[in-house]
Each structure stands twice: as structure tokens, then as C-alpha cells.
């Protein structure tokens, strides 16, 4: 987290706010509710109390405006800049402006007013931008569901105002995983149109062959309709589809888009009902089979016929000598299977039927 220079903050814990005008995109009551909910996000974890004024000058004046809207800090039409706010202080200090050229919504179909308001009011209280992609105070917009603050945000605002003397029960989001954490394990690995996607918690890293530095993004900012937690994933390049597994459901993605008819139950693949979660999935390009791993067993699914091969499940350690432990994620490249388990990854040669190399899981992330 960051604060503004000189840790600007309100000297009084009672802060006034006023909604000066409204966007036609939402009912007045919806705007009121979004702003109040956004303020409560911060008051739940600090001693701050927000008092609404209906006229006159409040500490935080909230308004909607387009392009040049009176503060010589113009907006830019649709997209791009969504809103801005000023750090605590007299006059324009604390004032919060929303770009009226955006489409404001209560859901994920456009820019969610509650999420943007919670971020901007963080500025109005003294928070600057965070470098943590999972933090509410991260500068780039992303739609998220559930409790909006990350531990990073709470640490930052409490460094300014202290904790709420009567703390509410809140469940902050864990901060973004550090790719070079020696204890890092993966949730799932898949290819996607030539890139490698690595899922961990509510984030994913995107590895591009020509771009050695992986880019970390929130799952929901790219695929709002899939869960925050991915158990397994694989790409069927012939169909240009990535299958995402979470619990007993699976989603099919075609690039950024969700394929119609999903989610489906994983049992449609022919898995027994007792299987409630898949640990790893990998498509073997040379055989056209997808291997699905759960606990100590695995299944083989024939993509061409859309059926599960007979004779499964089989024990992983029987068919993959050297792999006698559960698998978190799996990938396949040019005749080599890569099994990821906790902090280690095992390079397994299909031809010689043995593990030929063991590396750290996050060596794939240049650590």
C-alpha cells in the first residue's frame, strides 16, 4: 500500500460527505446505496464515521462530470479514466469525481459504481495506489465479488487511522501470491493459444514465449464468470477451447469468452459421482487424450469420441513411475509431461517412462 506524501489524512474521525449530482445510468437510490456501501467498507475497519449532508460544503463532495468538469483535471470520454479523487484537505481535498461518460452499473456488465467508489473514497481518505494487483487500491479497474478489501488495503488505512474500536467481522482477500516465494505451489497450469497460463488463488500468471516476465492478473478481471479458485485446466487446441475445473463443475473458454452451455458437471466426462474435485488435467497432443488426475488415480478421456477410455481409473504411480504423490497441476510439452506438486515439478519422459528431471515449481516463472 502507499499513502500520499506527508501521509495526508482527516484530523477528525467524523467525516462529512455530500452527493452533489447523480448519473442517469442508475436510480438515485442505487447511487446512494453504492456510495454508502463504499464508505462502510472503510468505516468497518477504522474509527471513521461518515455523516451525509444534503446541502452546503462537505469534506467529501461526490459528483459526476464529463471531460473538463471544473477542476482542470479533465476526464477522457468512455473507458480510460473512470474517476479520480483528491487527498484529504480543505477545499477540493477529499472531493471525488466520476466520469459521466462511463456506463455505471450495479453488476459486472459495465463499470461497477460500488467498486470504483470504494477505490476513490480510499483516495479521499488518504490512500494512494497500491502495487498489489489484488488490492482495492490497485490503479487498474477489475470487477470482483465478495469483500473488496485485501489485507494490504486494511494495513494501509489502519496505518493512518488505527483500527475500528468495535471491529466488524471482515474476511479480507489474501494478497497476491509472490511468484518467487520458495513455498509457492500452483493450482493449475494450461496452454492458451501459445501462452502458458498458471493459476494460483484468485490470480493467474501469463507466460508468453517471447516475454520472459510473467504478467500477474486477477482471474475475474479476464473471466468474470468463472470462480476465483481453479482446480485444474487444459487446452484442446483443435477446438481452441480451454476447460477450467473448479469443484464438480467445468467451464469452457474460447479466448476471453465463455462457451455456451457451460458450466457443466465434471461427471458428464464419465467420471464417477464420488469424484468431487479434479487435481490436474492435461491434453496429450500426440495421443489426443486428456488425462484427468484425482487423488492417487487418473482417467483418460478421448477428445475425438468424447468418451472416457475403458479400464480407468488407473493408479498414477503404476503408469508414471516416480510419481507416487498427488498432483497439483500438469502440463505437456514435446513428449514431456510436467507434474507439479507443491514446491517441486517433475519432468517425466513419455518415451523412457521415467522422471528425468526435478525442478522447483516456480522455475517456470524465472525464479
Amino acid at each position: 500500500y502507499n499513502h500520499f506524501p506527508r501521509h495526508l489524512k482527516w484530523q477528525n474521525n467524523e467525516v462529512t460527505f455530500r452527493i452533489v449530482n447523480y448519473t442517469p445510468d442508475l436510480k438515485k437510490a442505487d447511487v446512494d446505496r453504492a456510495v454508502r456501501k463504499a464508505l462502510n467498507v472503510w468505516s468497518d475497519v477504522t474509527p471513521l464515521i461518515f455523516k451525509k449532508l444534503h446541502q452546503g460544503n462537505a469534506d467529501i463532495m461526490i459528483s459526476f462530470g464529463s471531460m473538463e468538469h471544473g477542476d482542470h483535471n479533465p476526464f477522457d470520454g468512455p473507458n480510460g479514466l473512470l474517476a479520480h479523487a483528491y487527498p484529504p484537505g480543505q477545499g477540493i481535498g477529499g472531493d471525488t469525481h466520476f466520469d459521466e461518460d462511463e456506463h455505471w452499473t450495479k453488476d459486472s456488465s459495465a463499470y461497477n459504481l460500488f467498486i470504483v467508489a470504494a477505490h476513490e473514497l480510499g483516495h479521499a481518505l488518504g490512500m494512494s495506489h497500491s502495487t498489489d494487483p489484488g488490492a482495492l487500491m490497485y490503479p487498474v479497474y477489475s470487477y470482483t465479488t465478495g469483500y473488496p478489501l485485501a489485507e494490504d488495503d486494511i494495513e494501509g488505512i489502519q496505518a493512518l487511522y488505527g483500527p475500528n474500536p468495535n471491529p466488524k467481522k471482515v474476511k479480507p482477500k489474501p494478497d497476491a501470491p509472490n511468484k518467487c516465494d520458495p513455498m509457492l505451489s500452483f493450482d493449475a497450469v494450461t496452454e492458451l493459444r501459445g501462452e502458458t497460463i498458471i493459476f494460483k488463488d484468485r490470480f493467474y500468471w501469463r507466460l508468453h514465449p517471447q516475454m520472459p516476465e510473467p504478467e500477474q492478473t486477477m482471474i475475474k478481471s479476464t473471466w468474470p464468470s468463472i470462480p476465483n479458485k481453479v482446480d485444474a485446466a487444459y487446452e484442446n487446441p483443435e477446438k481452441d477451447v480451454v476447460i477450467i475445473f473448479s469443484g464438480i463443475r467445468m467451464w469452457a473458454l474460447n479466448g476471453y469468452n465463455l462457451v455456451d452451455g457451460y458450466p457443466k458437471y465434471i461427471h458428464k466426462l464419465g467420471l464417477p459421482k464420488k469424484i468431487r474435485k479434479i487435481d490436474a488435467a492435461v491434453y496429450i497432443r500426440d495421443t489426443g487424450k486428456t488425462l484427468l488426475f484425482a487423488d492417487e488415480d487418473y482417467w483418460s478421456y478421448d477428445e475425438a469420441t468424447g468418451t472416457m477410455d475403458s479400464g480407468y481409473p488407473r493408479a498414477i504411480e503404476d503408469d508414471f513411475p516416480g510419481m507416487d504423490d498427488e498432483i497439483d497441476a500438469a502440463a505437456y510439452h514435446y513428449g514431456y509431461l510436467y507434474f507439479f506438486h507443491e514446491q517441486m515439478q517433475y519432468e517425466y519422459s513419455y518415451n523412457s517412462r521415467k522422471v528425468i528431471r526435478i525442478m522447483r515449481t516456480n522455475s517456470i516463472l524465472n525464479c
Binding site: P5, N73, F75, N79, G80, L81, L82, A83, H84, A85, D99, Y111, V116, H119, E120, H123, S128, H129, T131, P133, P139, V140, Y141, H208, M211, P212, E213, E215, Q216
Partner: protein, 82 residues
Amino acid sequence: AHSFAVPLPSEDKDNFLLAEKYLRRFYGLPAGLQGRQRSAGALESKIKEMQKFFKLKVTGNLDDNTLELMKQARCGVPDIGE
């Protein structure tokens, strides 16, 4: 080091203008042209600052990752500086 002697193809020019505007607004890149060599150095160091902030690979170049991030919807408050 960048050389601007060769005219940029139009897409590059658009990207360059986008980056200049972005870095001026969010990273305090000085406005105006202060001589070609110095502005190239200032631009590169601001690109590095932005790449460091977003935990991208710090190259000082307008690579795809950097440009893609600059095009994302975001808050209008600067990331650094007064």
C-alpha cells in the same frame, strides 16, 4: 538508446503518444519537448518507473505488456508524485 531520427510507423506513433500522455498524467513525465535526447532519457526512465510499479519486466521499452496495461481502464489519480 532510442533514436527518433527515423520516422515512426503510424501505429508506433500512436503507441508513443499514448505512452507519453499516460506517463505525463500518472508518472509526472515533464510536459513539452526538452530537446530530443533528454526527453528520450526522461521517457525511458518513466517507463521503467511504471514497469516497476506494475511489477512488469523493467526494460524501459514500450513492449506489448506495458502498452497493454496502459490501455486498461483505471483510476485518474497519479501512481506516484505529489
